[in-house]
Structures are given as C-alpha cells and as structure tokens.
C-alpha cells in the first residue's frame, strides 16, 4: 500500500511522465467519457429520437472539451483522473440502470 502511494507520488513529481499521463488521459480518457456520454445523454428528454442524438452529440463534444481543459488545469494527476472517473461512473450507472 505504501509503495503504491510512493509510486504514485513519484509519477506526480516526474517532469515528463506527469504531462505525458495528462495527455493520455485527455485524449483517450476524454474519448472514453465522451463515448459513454454520447450514449447516456440520448436519454435526455427531447422532441424526437433524432433530436436526442443531436443534443447528446453537442453536449458530448462540449464535455470532451471541458474534460481536456480540466485535466491540464488541475493541480494533481489524481484530481485529473477523478475528472474523468466521476462523469464516467455517472454515465455508466445511467446506462446500466436506466436502460
């Protein structure tokens, strides 16, 4: 447990791995969240099914953008990861329980 924590702290301090991980999180993690979000947000109330798709798409790209900005703006890698994990969990839960 302790070594795990140390290992994480070392990542946090590493001048190249830290931004490298953020880039990976932003591109791949952000896409993953967007993928889930696009699926989940079609559940929003809207006039027709195609409207639901359109709305979900617009919101999802904005969400992707905000996710990327957050990942680079926030202080620590952990907070960056949480920025992905929380919406992913919400969307995943929504998809799992609401459909």
């Amino acid at each position: 447990m302790k070594t795990c924590f140390e290992w994480f702290a070392a990542l946090e301090r590493h001048p190249r791995l830290n931004p490298g991980l953020r880039v990976l999180m932003a591109i791949l993690g952000g896409y993953g969240v967007a993928w889930l979000g696009a699926a989940a947000l079609t559940g929003l109330p809207s006039a027709s099914k195609s409207d639901a798709v359109t709305l979900a798409m617009m919101l999802t790209f904005l969400l992707y953008l905000v996710n990327v900005l957050w990942i680079f703006a926030t202080a620590t890698l952990l907070r960056a990861a949480l920025g992905l994990a929380i919406p992913a969990a919400l969307f995943g839960g929504w998809l799992h329980f609401a459909t």
């Binding site: 699926a39 617009m58 790209f61």
Partner: protein, 589 residues
C-alpha cells in the same frame, strides 16, 4: 512551466494552447485553407472550365432543355434542371438513368434535416440539386454521349441562351479542395474523416484555451506593434484570432458535429439500438412518398409556363432548380425550388418549393413541414453557416474573409512557436528544425500546391483521359517538392523562395486564364461576370500578398545576437521555455 509544480491556470492553458495548436497545426492549416476555398467551390470549378466562360446569359432555353430531356431521358424516373444563377451561369440537366427505385423508398425532395445527409461516413444517394462531387464531367453531346459523375445519374451542360450542349474539360475542380478539407485524399473515407475529426478536436481545445489565456481580448484586437519581433507576431496572431473568433468557434464545433456520427457512434447506437437506417429516416422526417407512377403515358406540361407562373408568384425571387418526377407519366409532378434559403434555422428544407401536377400544370399542395425543433434549429444554424448554405454573396464573402483570418491565425501561431524559441540558439534542436521545415512546407508549400493545381488545370491537354486525376497528382507532386526543398534549404531562404514561388504561381493565374482560353480579367469586369472576375482578383490579391510577405522576410534581419550569456540562460531554462502567457504579460520594449 512544469506540471509537477504549482502553476497558474493561465500557464497551464498556455501550455495546452501551444501544444494542441502545434501538433496538428499544419494539417489544420491545410483544412482551413482548402475549406475556405470551398465556400467558392462552384465558382472555382467554373473557372477551371474555360470552355464555359463565354456562355451567353441573355435568355433561357428551357423549352430546348425539355426537348432534349424528352429525347434522351423519356424513361427516367427523375429529371433535375439546374437553372443558371449567381453561382453558375450554365443550364444543367441531370437525370436518373437507372431503373426506378422501389416506390416506398422514394421520398420527396423536401427534407427537413437533409443537411446531415453526409455526416454518416457513407454518402447517401439522392440529394437533389446538391452539387456533385467526383469530377465535373460535363463533356457530352445531345446525341447521347452523356457521362455520369455518379452511378445512376447522367448530366449535360447547356448554353442557357441557345440550349446548345457544351463540352467542357474534365476537371477535379473546386470539389477536390472541398473533399480534401474533410476527408483528405487517397485514404479510405472513414480514415480521412477520422484524422480530420481528431484535428478538429485539437483545434477546439486550442481555440478555447487560447481564449482563456487572453486577458484583454477586446484591447488586443486594436493592438498591433510592427517591427517588434515576436511581439508583432503575437499581435498578428491575436488580431487574426479575435477578428473572427465566433466564426472560428462555430466552424470548428460544427465541423465536429458534421463528423459526429462517425466519431461518436455510441449516440445513434444507444438511441436507435444501432439501426443507423432508422436514424436517417428519422432525421429526414416529414417525408411523404412520391405518388407512384400510373404506368399510363401522358405528355409533360410546358415547363416554361410553370417557370413564368412561379416567377410571378414569388415576385422575382430567383429559382434554383426544377425537379420532375416520373416525366411522361400521367402522375408526373414538377417541383420548382428557390435558389436561396428563407431561413437559416430551417435547414436545407428552408428553400421555398412550388409543386405542380406535371400534366395539367395545376399547383399542388405541399405537404406541411413541421417547423424545426429548438435542438434542430441550433444544429441547422451551425451547419448552414459551416456549409455556406445561403446564396447571397455578402455573407459568403464574409465567411471567406473569416476563413482567411482563421488561416492566418494558424499560420502566425505556427511561426510564432518557432520565433519565440529562436532566441539566441546557435544550433537548432531537432524538434525546432522539424517545426521550421514543416512550417515552410505546410504553409508556403500548401499554397504552392494549390497554385500548381490551378496551373495544371490549364496546362494539361484538355482532352487527356483522367486529366482530373492528373490535376490532383500535380497538387501532391508540388507539395512533396516543397517539402524536399524546405529540408534542403536554410530556413530563411526556404521561406523566401517558396513564398515567391507561391505568390508568382497564384498572382499569374489571371494571365494564365487569359492565355489558355478563359475570359480575361478586363473582359470579365467589362461584361460584369463577377464570378470569373472575383476569382482573378482574389488570385491577384493573394499572390500579391504572398510576394509582399516574401519581400518582408527578405528585409528581415534578426535583432538578437548569439552571446555566451544568452546561450547560458537558454540552457538553464530548457524546461521553462518562453511561453505564451509570459509573452502576453511582457511589456513591449
């Protein structure tokens, strides 16, 4: 700046802005430039077919067109006649040559959200009046030697005044540039679109992080300090960005939306259980099947009379096209469609349509189309802006100018990356040299390639087989040559030589046009053919601008000298490179 240390929001955003803009910046520049030209793709294609430049514009030989269609396409299930208009002075005929499709699937040409037809990865057939992609293969004769650019459709170009069939060269036309801007070339369409989609997302991140970095967007717009090295580049970058910031945001975001179903298939999967066909049906909603043909023959009514009637009803609003369904059948219908859209929010369906019985010539009721929902309107506005779906020239020119501004924004940003880091560095690092080479080849080289594409259009023999493909090959050969040239030459000489080359190629286009059978610039101005004059004047302006830029680069002498002290500082601050936020706060010397 280091991510493992405390840092301000602006510094983080500045880092993000710098790198998200740089990594795919050259691709984005190419997308922006070719996309900007696409606002005038019809005009460009017309310029590239000098055989059509001298068509007479007095009179409209619609009866002759009807005769030709009745001879050539009596059994066709659909004709489309494109009337001469502000963007194309010829009379275009097109007809479906294949067997009629099953009736249940045939739908009205009026489509609420048709603008989305293409965002699916696979093109769908049947967008009436939509400019064709592929080659503009207009070479044909009324004797039946017609060619088709799309399986199932045959087309013929007529002189609008005489109704004579015109033979124009095959050309890749403006459509090559248009298609390049969203699916590149030579790749599977899906791959090209994915790459463009990824680049677009980078662009969105770069724009928004760039806005966050700025403190004084408004003030920056009015600030321009010339001759101050990187400070001036920053001012130029700021001004070109702020000048049309809403355009950049909308064009980028709507670009993502247009590719949305390809990039994020999960939305359609979730809402339609993966049934993309059901989705397309739903998007086009409100369609009613065309009345099936009766099988009984009956002569088609005189189209000229319908045209005259519609002109009167619409008070001279220009008419774009005439669609005839089941010509020659007792249940034929004729639809006249306005050239301009009534509203930006309505999507493609917003063009006015008047519908007639094809035999009696009586007007028919149009099926009521529900007004678009709010979500649909938001979508439509963005997509209509992106695609320039409104015919009046002023907004089109504004879009074009904004596109030029966007191209300048990307170019100045890329150059600034290099300049901000050029300080006192005796030997360039590999990365820096790479950026410099890509800057020359990606910015000046792309413009050379576009210039060469237009030259190839005029110099390749007009009757050569597959000459459209050759035009495209010349584009890529010229671009490759500029890459090699940029690798071999020093940065400054490479910039000068390539800018001069691009400027000369482009500025000389009006001369080339006059010498190779096109209508010359004085002639087109005198006759008021602004379609052609516009191309030539733009070429002069852009070419002149590039030559001026080359001149400025030639005069430029770097202000700093490499001193030992400066190199020492440079190595010390290797990780905290001079960055955007610092530049923004620096006071001008």
């Amino acid at each position: 700046m280091r991510f493992d240390q405390a840092r301000s929001m602006r510094l983080s955003m500045s880092w993000l802005h710098t790198w998200s803009g740089l990594v795919l910046g050259w691709l984005l520049f190419a997308i922006f430039v070719t996309g900007t030209l696409s606002f005038f793709r019809n005009e460009i294609t017309f310029w590239m077919q000098p055989e059509l430049h001298r068509v007479k514009t007095n009179g409209l030989a619609l009866s002759r067109a009807q005769e030709i269609l009745e001879q050539e396409a009596a059994d066709s299930p659909m004709w489309i006649i494109t009337l001469p208009g502000a963007r194309n002075p010829t009379l275009g005929l097109a007809w479906r040559a294949d067997a009629p499709r099953p009736v249940a699937k045939t739908t009205h040409s009026r489509r609420g959200g048709e603008a989305r037809g293409e965002n699916y990865g696979n093109r769908h057939e049947g967008g009436e009046g939509r400019p064709q992609f592929e080659k503009n293969n207009a070479s044909a004769s009324a004797a039946g030697n017609t060619t088709s650019s799309r399986p199932g459709m045959k087309r013929l170009t007529l002189d609008p005044a005489t109704g004579e069939a015109l033979t124009a060269r095959e050309t890749a036309g403006g459509d090559f540039l248009y298609r390049f801007h969203f699916e590149l070339y030579g790749l599977e369409p899906g791959w090209g679109r994915w790459i463009v989609g990824i680049a677009t997302m980078f662009m969105l991140v770069a724009i928004v992080s760039g806005v966050i970095v700025h403190r004084n967007i408004f003030k920056d717009f009015f600030t321009f300090r010339t001759g101050k090295g990187k400070r001036s580049w920053l001012d130029a970058h700021n001004a070109s960005s702020v000048f049309s910031l809403p355009f950049h945001l909308i064009i980028t975001f709507s670009g993502l939306l247009l590719l949305g179903n390809l990039l994020l298939p999960s939305a359609v999967q979730s809402a339609f259980q993966g049934d993309s066909r059901a989705y397309m049906q739903s998007v086009r909603g409100g369609n009613t099947p065309v009345t099936p043909p009766s099988g009984e023959r009956a002569p088609l009514t005189d189209l000229s009379a319908l045209l005259a009637f519609t002109e009167q009803v619409w008070n001279g609003q220009p008419i774009g096209s005439i669609t005839v369904n089941h010509p020659g059948d007792r249940r034929a219908t004729v639809e006249l469609r306005a050239a301009n859209m009534d509203s930006l929010m309505g999507g493609r369906g917003a063009a006015r349509i008047l519908r007639f019985d094809g035999v009696s010539g009586q007007t028919l009721d149009m099926p009521a189309v529900a007004p678009p929902s709010i979500v649909q309107s938001v979508w439509n506005i963005q997509v209509m802006l992106h695609r320039g779906f409104f015919a009046s020239p002023v907004p089109r020119w504004l879009l074009f100018l904004a596109g030029v501004g966007g191209s300048l924004m990307i170019a100045t940003g890329l150059v600034m990356w290099s300049i901000a880091r050029a300080k006192a560095r005796e030997k360039l690092s590999f990365g820096h040299r790479l950026v410099d080479v890509l800057n020359v080849a990606g910015i000046a080289g792309l413009l050379i390639a576009i210039g060469a594409h237009f030259w190839a259009n005029r110099l390749i023999p007009a009757d050569l087989a597959h000459r459209g493909d050759w035009e495209i090959k010349v584009f890529f050969i010229a671009w490759s040559a500029s890459c090699i040239h940029a690798l071999l030459r020093k940065r400054k000489t490479a910039w000068i030589e390539q800018l001069v080359c691009a400027g000369a190629l482009i500025a000389a286009l009006p001369i080339l046009n006059a010498l190779t059978g096109g209508l010359s610039l004085p002639g087109s101005v005198e006759q008021g053919r602004w379609l052609l004059a516009g191309f030539d004047i733009c070429a002069l302006a852009i070419g002149g601008g590039l030559l001026f830029a080359a001149h400025k680069v030639m005069l430029h002498t770097p202000k700093f000298r490499v001193t030992k002290a400066a190199s020492a500082i440079d190595t010390e601050s290797k990780l905290s490179f001079p960055d955007f936020a610092q530049l923004q706060t620096e006071e001008p010397a």
